[in-house]
Structures are given as structure tokens and as C-alpha cells.
Amino acid sequence: MAEVEIPIGPQHPALKEPVNFRVFVDGERVVRLDLDVSYNHRGIEKAAEARDFPRALYLIERICGICSHAHATNFVKGIETIMGVNVPRRARYLRVIVGELERIHSHLLWLGVAAHEIGFNTLFMYTWRDREIVQDILEAISGNRVNYGVNTLGGVRRDLTDGLRARILEDVRTLEARSRYYLDVLTQEETFLVRTRRVGFLSRERAEALGAVGPTSRASGIPFDIRRVDPYEAYEELPVEVITASTCDVLGRTVVRAREISESLRIIREAVENLPGGPISVPAPRAAPKGEVVSRYEAPRGELIHYIRTNGTDKVDRLDARTPTLANWPSVVDAMVGHYLADIPVVVSAIDPCLSCTSRITVCDLGDRTKSVLTWDDLRDHGIRFYRERRGV
């Protein structure tokens, strides 16, 4: 059969966010793949330059829905390093607790989506039901299920009462039982194993060369976890065990994420049990001295880098947020060639792509903040005109 081009995306049930793959298949086997991630670009880097630090913080927190705390903490700790502000120990612990809670709910969400990709809907329902326990804790701590807004320059805005700490410890016990159960199901369910073993193979050398990060690289045997390699906030006092697998396939990434959930639960219990006393934030100056910092954070999907430059004013001179998904895209493209069309969704979801992170610009006139309202017909015209010109479809 001649090479057939199948468009997957930008709107496609398998992809929760708009990314466009032009997949070239021969029969059911993938031959070539072209990737386009420009659909969710909102210009946060340009917009951040026009906002002072507190406002920029709330903007950067909205780069991504499921790793909002990662972006906020990474940005705030970068600015604090430049300013030389010494954040109190209790605030560091609280940031680690909310960060690990966010990792658990992100991994549980991913586990459900990956199961759904291969038609395993019951596991999808169970994982998302148990994720509600984590969401309720986060809602109790920060007042919101996503975009927690817990961070502020110089510390944290919300504190843990004793009642809340007891409740967290109790919920952690139930979640530990559930995560052990999921690990058993994932390693024993035949129909799951058949769809994930040796699928999306990424050898260790290829993963290193292509710059894979996070669970994707750890599933190929690379012990690279920022919390251990370049500890920040309270991770010096809460050592993290780096979880790796050597199977280099989608199953390996699943097992790594499942075991990272129990590891995060252990960290949370340790952090909540010996939470130090003291204030939760210190006043921070309005402006930051001229300087630059490379702020690294282990987001649920991998190494997140904020390269921040300041120029003595209260605004950021340049913010470059390189997100884990951008680093993982080459590995997906490499891991998918040669596999079946049916495997594409599960291989793509195996790096747990977060498109909102990857692309960050669109047109909003910064001057008088007018947003042009596009009617549905305009959008349709644009689509038809564009495809007629470009690809003669």
C-alpha cells in the first residue's frame, strides 16, 4: 500500500491538547512523522517582561494546568536567589509538600489517560477517582484544585494547621495502599502488558543524545532526577530515591511513574511529620538587582528550567522557560517510527506531553489590552483558506 499521510491532531480524541502530527504510514506501520506544536502558544515570555514580579508570578503559574506549582516555585526561587532572600525552612517544607502532592495528582492523571489510550477505561475511572483524594487535600491547603497560588516572593501564603496535617497523614495511608494496588495491576494485567511491552522503544544512548528528561529518561536507565542531583528547597533534608527502570519502553515509563507516586507519598509523610516551626514567609524587596539565574526544578514530566535575567527594575528583563515536554518531543518522534498506528496515542501519551507548557505565544495587543473576538465563521474561513493554499486538501 502506498505511503498514506494520516493527520493526527490538532483536534483528536487521543490528544488532550492541540498538537499536530502528520504521520506517514505504510499499511499500519509508521514510516515518518512530522510534528507541529504551535497551537497553544500564548506569549507568556513576552508578557512576563511587561509585568512586575507578583503579577508575573500569577501569569507564569498559568503556563500549565497540571504543573502550575512547578512553574511558580521555579520562578519564585530563581528571583529569590537573585535577590538573596533567605526563605524560612517551614516555607521550603510547605513548597515541597505541595510540589509532591502535585506530582502525585499529575502521575495519577497520566496513568488514567494512558490506560484510556489503549481502551482500558476501568483503570482510567479508578485512577481518577483516587486522584480526588489528592485534589481535596490541595483544595484544603491552598483553596483551589489547580493554580494553587501558594507561593509568594519570600515564602508561602498558606500554612498547615494541625488538623490538616493529621488529615494529610491519614489520606497518605489510603493512597499508599492504592498506589501499591495500581503497581500490581500494571505489572500483571495481560491486556495492558501486551500493549506496552517493547512499545515506543528508546535506548539509553538515544535518550541521552536526544536530551530526554524526567520519567521518559529514567525509564531508559538514566538516574537523572533534579531533586537528587541538584537539590533545591527542602530536598537536601528530604533525600529522594531516584527510581529508574531498564526496559526503555512505555511499560518502563508506566512503572517508573507508578513507583514515583509511592516515593512522593513517602516524602510527603516525612515532610509533614517533621515540619519545622517558624514563620512561613519573609518580606521581599520590590525590585531585584541586575543578575541572572538558571533555576531548575523536577516537574512531574522532567527537568524544568527557568533562565531569568533581571536588570535592577521590578520587572523581568528576560525569562526563558524551557519545559520538560519540549525536551521530550524528539524522543517521542524517534520512539514512534517503526511502530503501529494503533500505538501512536499510547507512545505519545507515554511522555505525558503538556502542550500548554511547550508553546507560549499568541497575539494579544499589550497596549490597550484589546482582544480581537473571532467569530466561528472567521475561524472556519481561516482553516479552509490555509489548508487549501498549503496542502491543496
Binding site: G119, N121, T122, M125, Y126, R129, E189, T191, L341, A342
Partner: protein
């Protein structure tokens, strides 16, 4: 049978009226059970009715360059095939009035029409996803049709007759073929699940890979009828398995008069819902296979099992054991 009784039988009771109601009830039962097993609430009882009526009112689109009449007639064919198959399955009395020697082969043929029509639908609709889905539907068809037929022939050989009604009444004494040929029942169950393209085998309609599969371009009335046809196929298939392996509407001991009819009908309902329960459990517990895995698994596991069961049935028939 006098003409009016015939019409009533055909159109109202065990015919179209009852079948449509029972099909929609079966769909609700299936969706509610799946939901409760996944700790969800599940839809209210009238949800399938609401879906059906809503779809009837939706715009009915025929894609450009597709022969309109052919495209509109495919769902009707599927509906007709399944509805007529149901007539030969005994519902109230152990022998259905339409029974004749060989109606088992006819029902099996009529039940295998919808997948072929799905292929026709997918291929003619011109949509890329539908075309890939259509190819998958056909390649899946060959894999499960053979074991399903072999499993169905087991009871036929045991009773030495090709009529479903004879097979059902032969089990009146309570000795169901489920106990005599358990393997056949298992293969039949899996074959039916694959025929209805339900989860371990919903490869043609895999929404996360190829959007809607063959029925991507189906809309409005056509989708409503096609969806109803697939529901009816679920109920008819289950009723066929009940008639072959669970003794159909027979109650051991009671076999004359109105009581037998009413009791037989209730027993029939219970058995069909039990089979649908098994299918739902199968759907909820497993993930979807890939097409090449299904083909390999079908030929290396499913078909040999069916052949073993057939051999055992032949030996038993030769040996005179019922």
C-alpha cells in the same frame, strides 16, 4: 397461525416491538452495569431512548461523492438482518413458530451481516479514518467468525438437528449444553464480544486511534438506526447463546399451558441478562488489543479451542450421550 396472530407475533410481541424495547433496555443494562463496576453512577433508564430520539432529530449529512441511496440503505440492511434473525430464536415457547431445519445457519449468517455492512459503510464514506477502520473491521471479521460458527455447531451436532428450536427443546430436561460443552460456550461468548466490536475487540471503532472508525461520517437518522441495530445484535446474539447453551425459555418440569409460556419468558429474560452481564464484565475488565495481536491470538488460541470442543461433541454424539 391465523393472519392476525401472525402479524401480532411479527410486529408486536416477540417481534419488532419487543425487540426494540428489549434492545434499548439491554443497552441501558450494559451501560449501567459498566458504570457501577467503575464506581460511577451510570445513566437513567430512559437514556438509550433519549439518545435514539435525539439522533433522529439531528441533521442527516451524506459526505460529498458518496452514493446517497447506498449510504442511507446500509443501516437499514443491518437493522433488517438482525430483526429477522431474532424471529428464529425461541422466546416464549421452546419452539419458535418460524422454526425450520437449518434456521441455525440462517441466523448465524444474518448475524454476521452487520460487520460486513460496517465495512461497506466505512469504505464508501471516503473518510480516511473510516477507511482504516473498515479494513480493520474486515480483518477482524475473519478471525472470530470461524470459531464462533464452530462453537455454535457443537450443540447442533449433540442434538442431531439444525434447528435452534429443536436444540432448545432438547435441553428441556435441564441438562444444558453449558455443562456438556463449557468450552463451546466460552468461545461463543468471546466470538459474540468480537462480533459486536466491544472493548477487548473494539479495534475498528477505537476512538483514541482512528476517531470513529467506520461510522465516523454517520450522522442523524442513519446513526440512530445503526446504533439501534448494534444494540439489537447484542440482544439477539445473547438470545442465540441462551437458546444453544442455556436451554432457551424452557423450565425443567413445567411444560404445558399458559404458565409454561409466562414462566418460560421470564426465565428467558433472566438468562439473556445473565449473558449480557458476562459480556459487560468482559468489556469492563480488559483493555483493547491491537489488530495484529487479535489475529495471532484468534488463530493460535480461539480456533483450536473451538476445534477441540467440536471433536469432543462429535465423540459424544457418536457415543450416544445426549
Amino acid at each position: 397461525m391465523e393472519p392476525y396472530g401472525f402479524l401480532v407475533y411479527l410486529l408486536v410481541f416477540p417481534g419488532l416491538g419487543f425487540l426494540v424495547t428489549f434492545a434499548l433496555f439491554g443497552e441501558w443494562f450494559d451501560r449501567k452495569l459498566t458504570a457501577r463496576m467503575q464506581s460511577r453512577m451510570g445513566p437513567p433508564w430512559f437514556q438509550p431512548w433519549a439518545d435514539f430520539v435525539k439522533l433522529l432529530s439531528k441533521e442527516d449529512i451524506t459526505p460529498e461523492g458518496v452514493p446517497r441511496r447506498l449510504y442511507a440503505s446500509v443501516p437499514l440492511f443491518a437493522f433488517a438482518a438482525v430483526a429477522s434473525a431474532f424471529l428464529y430464536v425461541p422466546v416464549v415457547f421452546p419452539t419458535s413458530p418460524f422454526a425450520f431445519q437449518g434456521d441455525l445457519v440462517l441466523v448465524l449468517y444474518l448475524l454476521s451481516l452487520p460487520p460486513i455492512l460496517t465495512f461497506l459503510l466505512g469504505w464508501t464514506s471516503g473518510n480516511l479514518f473510516a477507511r482504516v477502520g473498515a479494513i480493520r473491521a474486515v480483518s477482524q471479521l475473519f478471525v472470530y467468525e470461524v470459531p464462533f460458527f464452530i462453537a455454535a455447531f457443537g450443540p447442533a451436532i449433540a442434538t442431531g438437528s439444525w434447528s435452534i428450536s429443536d436444540i432448545a427443546s432438547a435441553q428441556r430436561s435441564g441438562l444444558w449444553f453449558l455443562f456438556l460443552q463449557p468450552l463451546g460456550f466460552g468461545v461463543g461468548l468471546i466470538g459474540l464480544q468480537a462480533k459486536l466490536e466491544r472493548t477487548p475487540f473494539d479495534i475498528p471503532g477505537a476512538e483514541t486511534e482512528i476517531v470513529g472508525g467506520p461510522i465516523t461520517e454517520l450522522t442523524g437518522r442513519k446513526l440512530a438506526i445503526f446504533h439501534l441495530a448494534m444494540d439489537m445484535a447484542l440482544v439477539t446474539g445473547a438470545a442465540l447463546l441462551v437458546a444453544l447453551f442455556l436451554g432457551g425459555p424452557t423450565v425443567p418440569g413445567v411444560n404445558e399451558g399458559l404458565a409454561a409460556g409466562a414462566l418460560g419468558f421470564l426465565v428467558f429474560l433472566a438468562k439473556v441478562l445473565f449473558v449480557v452481564f458476562l459480556l459487560t464484565a468482559l468489556k469492563t475488565a480488559l483493555g483493547r488489543l491491537r489488530i495484529d495481536q487479535l489475529v495471532r491470538w484468534g488463530w493460535t488460541v480461539l480456533t483450536p479451542l473451538a476445534l477441540v470442543q467440536l471433536a469432543v461433541a462429535l465423540v459424544m454424539a457418536a457415543g450416544g450421550i445426549p
